[in-house]
Subunit: 355 residues, 2 copies
């Protein structure tokens, strides 16, 4: 029996370490998609300093490919595709379109090691029958010019995304089988090295993480300040805690009980660290933010279920404008001011959407 083939898409801090972990565990053949650093990685590999797996010079997995299409042509078909890219559905390309060239109908299992809520929905819609797994990573890892620094033990919470369109026993059994299989590929024999935890309640884990992400990640991005400085400027109970209550209420409207203790946990998780979360950093760098999966999707659910979100809606609208600014700077949006001459501002958005 040949070993399973795993394609890792996204070679940032999380993706590079995922590829390393799978490779070292020697139970699968790893292909890593490396876009901008392709030449460097093929010739020199990565320089890795990982508290989980150790130090490596010139490391690379079995295969490195320039894009998903090449990976499939040269090293497919794949048993698993692990997606570790940022998830920006309103960006230049969706995650579904990124992985599409390598997805074998039904047989490829898609593992989304990504933030946010409802990220599985477009995957289920576009790849019906394929199992989709949820990965929530706690790792602390960066990849800057092929130097990968991993500062925390690699902990992965792994579960099955339910598929509302396929609740058959066959699908559920296959999902569990794939979950256990991927657990086995990733989990080291020695649990003091890395730690994969099976997640029986993926929805709740993801809503819990949103208590932090949809409030502190978003607000720091708007005002361009680290979490602690935000908390020095404005009291927790004046903005952050009531916003967290809104997320918990939206989760509840979906039948997901997020314990109130999560508020206390996340409001204090960065105490004294003066840490800037991912959206804040993206905004600083002029890169698109994971706005829709972190806040847009929760707001959509709130509207559907008639949950009031007075704070989060304002946060969302403001970030939508910030994202608009970043898109225009990156050439994803073009504004011709003359198009708006003699037009009432009420008609701007519709007019713009038409273009």
């Amino acid at each position: 029996m040949s070993v399973p083939k795993v394609l890792v898409v996204g070679s940032g801090g999380v993706g590079a370490i995922a590829a390393l972990s799978l490779h070292l565990n020697k139970k699968c053949e790893v292909t890593l998609v490396v876009r901008s650093d392709y030449e460097h990685v093929v010739n020199h590999g990565y320089e890795i300093d990982s508290v989980t797996y150790g130090k490596f010079m010139n490391w690379k997995p079995t295969h490195v490919s320039k894009n998903v299409h090449d990976a499939y042509r040269d090293h497919g078909e794949f048993d698993f595709i692990v997606v570790t890219t940022k998830n920006i559905p309103d960006g230049a390309i969706t995650c579904e379109d990124i992985i599409r060239p390598a997805v074998t109908p039904k047989s490829t299992t898609i593992v989304l090691i990504q933030n946010g809520i409802d990220i599985e929905t477009p995957m289920h819609e576009q790849f019906p029958g394929n199992v989709v797994l949820s990965g929530v990573s706690l790792i602390g890892s960066s990849n800057i010019n092929c130097k990968v620094n991993n500062s925390h033990k690699d902990q992965l919470t792994l579960g099955v995304f339910e598929n509302p369109d396929d609740t058959s026993d066959e699908y559920i059994e296959r999902s569990t089988e794939k979950l256990n299989q991927f657990y086995d590929l990733y989990q080291n024999a020695d649990e003091s090295i890395n730690k994969v935890t099976i997640d029986k309640n993926v929805k709740r884990s993801r809503w819990e993480k949103l208590v932090y992400n949809s409030v502190l990640n978003t607000i720091t991005a708007i005002v361009n300040l680290d979490v602690n400085r935000c908390q020095i400027a404005v009291q927790n109970e004046d903005l952050f805690l009531p916003a967290m209550d809104e997320i918990i209420a939206i989760a509840a409207s979906e039948g997901v009980v997020v314990d109130k203790s999560q508020k206390d946990k996340f409001i204090h998780i960065g105490d004294g660290l003066f840490y800037s979360p991912s959206m804040c950093i993206d905004q600083r760098k002029g890169q698109l933010m994971e706005l829709e999966i972190i806040l847009g999707n929760p707001i959509k659910i709130a509207r559907k279920n008639n949950v009031p979100t007075p704070i989060l809606s304002v946060i969302y609208h403001l970030l939508h404008m910030v994202q608009f600014r970043i898109k225009e700077k990156n050439g994803l949006i073009k504004i011709n001011q003359d198009d708006f001459k003699n037009m009432k501002s009420d008609d701007y958005p519709a007019h713009f959407a038409k273009k």
Copy 2:
């Protein structure tokens, strides 16, 4: 009878043109306080291109002083002090402290040609008995390196700020007298040149202007986009119009009726112009914004009168964080991260306020 003496404090676009207008009208002696450009103005004056008053090379008023103290020592006492500086009570110095060296108790009339609400309160508190006049300027004027460009006809709406601590007939009569006197100093004989309008309802005029300023000026500053781009990104009724409703409700709680038509006026006032308001520009330049007089004071009034402001409160908290960032960059706030080690974030603001 000697001519009245007028001190103009603040030599930006509005202040320079106010000094010019008063000077050309030849009914008073004008002293202008010029801080950073003092040497240049003393030696070379201003280069002025004004649609209201014409073109001037090397223009300066009768007297130019480096600061208010020197102005008073060399050219006081003053009948009028015209304040055209930005009004930033949370900044390095308040407007009261700026003008204090030149205020003669009771006799000096203070004319605030400035944005915002409740700006007269600290003046009344600190200079009881002095008349305080309200000036709302529509002019379109900039002063960049002593080149003053005035693009719209100089229109000044002038009224009396009521003094809740002095409702005596004497004070009210004196206020009216000073109002008429300043009208006379500023209004040109030919009304096609400039236009001073007497404002019988100062409160309402100021609340009306807030319909624009507390919503569009603030939001553009948060997201760093001009008004029109904001309106392209987010529909008027999703954010801007409901926020305007909140301002109108706060005004109503103070007995000030702002007609709903003001919303329509201000939501369309910049249609097609792609204009960035003052707070947005200040934020871009890393300068403190007029946050408290434009939004902080309305929010305080809302709290006092139990008016809900779900949108404006979020806007305010976010801008408070942006202002915090600007203050730290400008050295007005110092954060020592070690001070916050081993402290819960709930205690940050109180701890910081103590320092």
